[in-house]
């Protein structure tokens, strides 16, 4: 069992070599993954999918009161 810095270095080396020797499809899907994550977490989450209750209310009590109203009056 090696020391922690040696282990970290080995793990780093493992990933580094893995990424460097990646085949064409590996590189291509990584590009797709990065673009996809950008679209999902930056564009969609920030601009289109704000949390409705968090946006509208400051605390949990207000949120629960609001939802309670919806439950009581829904028809």
């Amino acid at each position: 069992m090696g020391s922690s810095p040696a282990l970290i270095k080995r793990v780093f080396r493992f990933y580094y070599d893995g990424f460097r020797s990646m085949s064409w499809w590996g590189k291509r899907v990584w590009i797709i993954i990065l673009i996809k994550l950008f679209i999902i977490f930056i564009i969609l989450k920030l601009f289109f999918f704000r949390n409705f209750l968090n946006e509208k209310f400051d605390n949990e009590k207000q949120k629960s009161e609001f939802v309670l109203d919806q439950l009581i009056n829904s028809k």
């Binding site: 893995g18 996809k36 969609l44 999918f49 209750l53 629960s64 939802v67 919806q70 439950l71």
Partner: protein, 518 residues
């Protein structure tokens, strides 16, 4: 001030969620199935030491990697939608939905992400056995991830193990094991992962057939067909078996959905199972809804009673019995459930008034009532009915449930036949010569996708009008946001997912054409 949702908003929100879930489910089952097939092939390689099995493992692992990478994180969007479009629902379900999804996230990240790297980067760098263990852990991790999602979904079909807290307006988990071992969760999990195994097997069988049609990679194709044939046959038998137990569970937990599968309106003993049929409008109505009748049907006498009750004399309730009630069989009419739901809703209103008046004694009393087993059983379990306008609104879309169920079941039996034929022709050594059969195998790749999507249509549309069975209708669950923004994101998703799908298919096709010699 309470906003009444317009139908457009509810429908678009549902359409958006359906679109996201349907696309997500194009990627998931192949990950579930192919990961196990790759693990089986690698096990054979480690056991035998034959390089041909290593070559085969690496080839299918490449296709697994493409699908895994393209599909990863597509499910996150569903969680965004919960917070934006379904925020009342998300709040109401509380930690019951949050806990399984958090476990799923942790499992997916640590098990799959860590060991996927070993799977792809670890060839010739880690020892064979460690590599094999990593491959199996990815396979098991993928199924475990699915387990937690399905546990959350099963709770929506059959809410158990919780108590509603009027103070927070949330359901709180009081029995984790009841949620985990919810009878719907167990049958749903087994049925879903076995359908993923089946899909993975069909994928391998179809592509192997293509190689044989091209007169290429004969050895790889026939060996892969053997693995896919055996695994596919076992999976398809498991799909039918778990489908049967799943239907039995639904008959208890969601009897209206079950009756809609079979378009059974009038309950009876010695009820037959409809093997095939065509529906038409009849002259009868339940409230404003037209009752469907069969213009043609093939029925297996007594089998539906046998399936649900263990004998042909068992009574199977129909939609009429479940909506209008059947005192002889102890079935409450929906009108009575609406009354009981309103009792729970009125008590919640009393709680709100008591809180406004700082009446802590009354608040405490009402909180105790909401935790009382008898009240839960007699009133709170029908809470959602307080929001239903007419009894017939509790009927789902019968033709949709009927046709999607029967298409799924027909395909289930088709897969058994197909995998039997694969094994038969393999053992006779003539499969490469049966070009008609190879073409059928190739085009059958699409069919488990159809069956899987039909299963989800059935599970979700068959539950309507509920988002949580009997507790919350979809109309109450949807956030009052502008339908314009929902339509915009619907279009965005359609474009994004279609681009991802085209990317996946084109990279896969290129890799399949290249073959294992890359």
């Amino acid at each position: 001030m309470i906003d009444v949702p317009d139908l457009t908003l509810v429908d678009w929100s549902r359409a958006q969620f359906a679109l996201t879930a349907i696309y997500h489910w194009l990627f998931v089952p192949l990950t579930l199935g192919l990961s196990f097939i790759v693990a089986i092939m690698e096990t054979i390689y480690v056991k035998t030491g034959l390089e041909e099995w290593k070559r085969m493992t690496r080839f299918w692992m490449t296709l697994f990697g493409i699908n895994f990478a393209i599909g990863v994180a597509t499910g996150i969007i569903l969680e965004f939608e919960f917070g934006t479009n379904w925020s009342y629902y998300s709040w109401f379900v509380g930690d019951i939905f949050g806990a399984p999804l958090a476990i799923e996230g942790i499992l997916a990240f640590f098990l799959e992400s860590t060991f996927v790297a070993v799977m792809f980067f670890g060839w010739n760098k880690v020892n064979k056995k460690f590599h094999l263990v990593s491959t199996w852990l990815v396979a098991v991790g993928a199924s475990l991830s699915a387990l937690w999602i399905l546990v959350a979904n099963a709770w929506m079909q059959n809410p158990v193990g919780m108590v509603f807290n009027p103070e927070t307006a949330r359901n709180e988990m009081v029995d984790f094991w009841a949620v985990l071992f919810n009878e719907v969760a167990v049958s749903k999990f087994l049925h879903t992962i076995s359908s993923g195994f089946l899909l993975g097997s069909m994928f391998v069988a179809g592509i192997s057939a293509w190689y044989l049609l091209q007169k290429r990679e004969h050895h790889l194709a026939t060996r892969s067909l053997l693995v896919a044939g055996v695994f596919g046959l076992l999976s398809s038998l498991l799909v039918v078996y778990t489908g049967d137990s799943s239907a039995r569970t639904l008959a208890r937990a969601q009897p209206v959905k079950f009756a809609a599968f079979e378009a059974l309106y009038d309950g009876r003993s010695d009820a037959g199972l409809v093997a095939a049929g065509i529906l038409k409008d009849s002259d009868r109505k339940i409230g404003k809804k037209v009752v469907k009748d069969f213009s043609f049907r093939i029925e297996i006498p007594g089998f539906l009673s046998f399936m649900t009750g263990g004998n042909t004399r068992a009574f199977v309730p129909g939609i009429n019995d479940l909506i209008l009630g059947n005192p002889e069989k102890g079935l409450l009419p929906v009108a009575e459930k609406m009354r009981r739901g309103k009792v729970a809703q009125d008590l919640l209103r009393d709680y709100k008034n008591a809180r406004a008046g700082n009446d802590s004694v009354k608040m405490s009393t009402i909180r105790k009532v909401f935790a009382d087993k008898q009240f839960i059983e007699e009133h709170f379990r029908y809470f959602g009915y307080a929001s239903v306008e007419n009894p017939e609104d509790a009927i789902p879309n019968v033709p949709l449930a009927f046709y999607s169920f029967h298409l799924m079941v027909t395909l289930g039996f088709y897969f058994i036949l197909l995998f039997c034929l694969v094994l038969f022709l393999l053992f006779r050594g003539t499969i490469a010569k049966q070009r008609w059969f190879l073409w059928i195998l190739l085009f059958s790749i699409l069919l488990p996708y159809v069956a899987g999507e039909m299963g989800w249509v059935l599970a979700e549309m068959g539950r309507q009008p509920w988002i949580i069975q009997d507790l919350m209708p979809v109309s109450t669950a949807v956030s009052r946001i502008g339908s314009g923004s929902v339509i915009t994101t619907f279009v965005l998703f359609a474009v994004l997912f279609t681009v991802l799908l085209i990317a996946e298919v084109s990279i896969m096709i290129k890799q399949i054409k290249t073959g294992p010699n890359h």
